[in-house]
Symmetry: C3
């Protein structure tokens, strides 16, 4: 698998915050680079190349000692910046320049983000805003992780045109009025390199998620305002807004559910995929988290074989013909165009 | 796996007729090309490239609706010719030129055949004659399918020189007088690009299949007349004819058993292998089919590891030395020569 | 996997003597070459290319008949020199020049050694001396085999610097005073292209193996004299010598345990690894063999994932940076230098 078509100078989600502890290393390959994550003594996140510079043993097979990571092969210890603090067999003598490569890394909004490209360009202001999902936000939050052997843009396609719900997710997300998705126009705008799409479908049965808010009981059909945002390289957010059809609102942008998607390429042909769902109602219903996790897991389990089959079919296609766009693919096509432009920019700068 | 050494302008067996229904798609990769088979409303066979031209999802993950195949990702529908009849999210608007690539396909003799090469060359007269095996032929018919990771010519070798029965199939097909196969000459002729071999071995114990005919009870030793036919690229037929040794017949060409072999390359290194056996006796013995299927399955299970081991050994041979022929390989060598000539012909025409 | 960086003109361990019988062939791929081993009628070892020259079937799928190997596909028979003695379907007629490629092979010290390179250079005097481990040597001998997907020099590194015992083997071999290994200097000398290292650590707790000798009961702390020998391409021997610390011996080179390691590359990225342990005490304790096998097996099971992870990390490293040496790697670095020089020599001679 190559990695040359991937954008490097970005923060990528490496883990959920609670996956990285002070007790054990956490391994994650991103853009083809094996990385070990752990917490320094002060709880801050460290990310190092997962190859001990001595004999290239994975540091992630080691242990965390006093906030440093110790290689389990010969005991070399590295602090959170990759500086070697101990080589046990050398009576404490360290070797000048002997260090593990550090990556900029930080914790935000309940996630761990790692910067893969040039370290001096790592700007904390560029971290995607997931404030709506972090600790304390909303009434409830659930999430999940999937490893999917597909190019990350196939996931962007999938999320930017939801008409697949009527087919692929017929028995899960599509069980309530999915055919409505097939009608009506999607509006979208590209602004500051990001995409915002709005799909309004009027006078439809209540979806599973709308029903679960408890807000629309006895109100009959609803207008659906579905907002989808895309930020390169591969963050997406879905906002579900509803209003009674009888109100005939021009627009509603107050979501009762949000779903955020961090898509981190392992390579051109595989991703680490973290999804997070937040909601803003029925704080006393402890069962909601379970229900939301379950239906989302079932639906995404329907996406996985489709995405992986697409990837196989694209790789094996001798004609390497271009994809054809439906009308609903406007946003997906725009996302691909943004990524291509950014990639050309990175390549041009790399060539300078 | 490459496919460049494979003959393209031929009918290849894709499935047994009953495997392709009006209810569900059937996927088969032939000569490196993923193909989906299904039945149109009139029951005729449709074969399309198994890549939806929209996002390259396998159509075979979809469903059959009114004799059309519907992609399970976004609902695009294609008829048996690959013409798109519906894009649900576009309010019915189809896209000019948006179509799935169709392959010529037909049903004959209980099999489904697909033409891989130039569609305009697909001539129904070129379908291999399996009339002796189709519905209504003979007293009984059994068959099986195997996926074997070996070049198709290794299977042709195997079937054109049956002396392996004495070794590889010692405990199954070779249990009755296999050593006789090692004696005597095989005659063969090449005619119209096909091969016909005849091996006559006289005055031998009755084989398992001869015994099962019930025709030779009390007749002691038999003369064996074994006819093997080969048609390029890879169809073979074995005809088992016997006569009492006492009759001293010059030749007998009325088979009591026939075994047909359709060998369809998935790639240079793997085949889909369909075998079919027909017989002409004891119509009331319902047990025969079970017995014939069982011994054949046992025997072919002995072939599989040998063929796959050969393929590994051939691919990994740094010397890439040529195969050495025994006297019994005359027909196999002739088959390889025929294929090489046909391949040169296809290449020359492709270069025109 | 390539094999071009492997030394060819050497005896490599192919099997333990008892693994090769007169009853069944034994298959082993060495330096990328599939080889079948069997015993001729006189019990001597035969090693042939594991590809029948007829149709490249693996001879190892065949059977041994009268000290010859018979291909299980068409019955061709080859003697221990690879000469074809029978082609059954040709009424005994053999084909001039039709032969399986023979490899020089011999049995010594309880092992089977095969010479991969130019046959005329195969000199029995070059067989590694494992006299201390063969039948009748010492009080007891145990051994084991492992297949490890790692370059053979990573195993040499592992065995030439035992400080990993303090980390990787903390709970097995390192359970008794492993930290002592981290202290003190290792002396080594390169002589006749071989390496001998001596590590002396004084006044330490008794190791598991020292305790098991029964020689040092009530003697308190011991001085440890650990001798490690390396012979190219990849034979190593560890000698464990101890003396009471109170005796203050300058040197002790009488081992109570020896461990020999035959490391045979299957390719650049995998090895067949045979280890053999011999001891010289408590001949009546039948339990020792079991205990020694168990602890060694447990410890080597700790090495395996580390070695394979190193190999993955080295292969996948885009920087392909050189390994960094600790002080303890002096011997390992010397071994790599010896191998590189020998390899340059073989290449130069091959180019002549």
């Amino acid at each position: 698998m190559t990695t040359e078509n991937l954008l490097r100078n970005y923060w990528y989600a490496a883990a959920r915050a609670e996956e990285v502890t002070g007790d054990a290393p956490f391994a994650r390959t991103m853009l083809g680079e094996p990385i070990v994550l752990f917490r320094s003594k002060d709880g801050s996140i460290a990310a190092l190349e997962d190859r001990c510079p001595h004999r290239k043993a994975p540091l992630s097979l080691g242990r965390i000692t006093d906030g440093e990571i110790q290689c389990n092969y010969h005991g070399a210890r590295f602090d959170g910046d990759g500086v070697c603090s101990l080589i046990p067999s050398q009576e404490g003598k360290v070797i000048p320049g002997f260090a593990a490569r550090p990556y900029p890394a930080t914790e935000a909004h309940g996630m761990i983000f790692v910067w893969i490209g040039a370290p001096e360009k790592a700007d904390l202001d560029l971290i995607p805003d997931m404030g709506a999902y972090g600790p304390g936000a909303g009434t409830g939050v659930v999430g999940g992780y999937m490893y999917i052997k597909a190019n990350y843009l196939l996931l962007a396609d999938n999320l930017l045109d939801l008409t697949n719900i009527a087919y692929l997710h017929e028995s899960t997300l599509g069980a309530t009025g999915a055919e409505a998705l097939l009608a009506g126009e999607m509006e979208f705008e590209v602004k500051d390199g990001n995409i915002r799409t709005v799909r309004i479908v009027r006078d439809q049965v209540q979806t599973f998620f709308a029903q679960k808010t408890g807000k629309f009981e006895g109100q009959g059909n609803l207008d659906r305002f579905t907002i989808t945002n895309f930020w390169a390289p591969a963050y997406l957010e879905l906002q579900l807004c509803n209003a009674p059809a009888s109100a005939n609102m021009a627009m509603c942008d107050v979501p009762h559910h949000r779903v955020h998607h961090c898509i981190t390429p392992e390579s051109d042909g595989a991703v680490h995929y973290y999804w997070t769902m937040a909601w803003y109602h029925r704080p006393d219903d402890a069962n909601l988290a379970k229900e939301f996790r379950e239906i989302t897991r079932l639906a995404f389990d329907e996406d996985l074989p489709m995405l992986e089959a697409q990837q196989c079919n694209i790789e094996s296609d001798p004609a390497q013909s271009t994809l054809v766009n439906f009308e609903g693919d406007k946003a997906g096509a725009a996302a691909r165009k943004i990524v291509a432009q950014l990639l050309a920019g990175e390549s041009a700068r790399a060539a300078e």
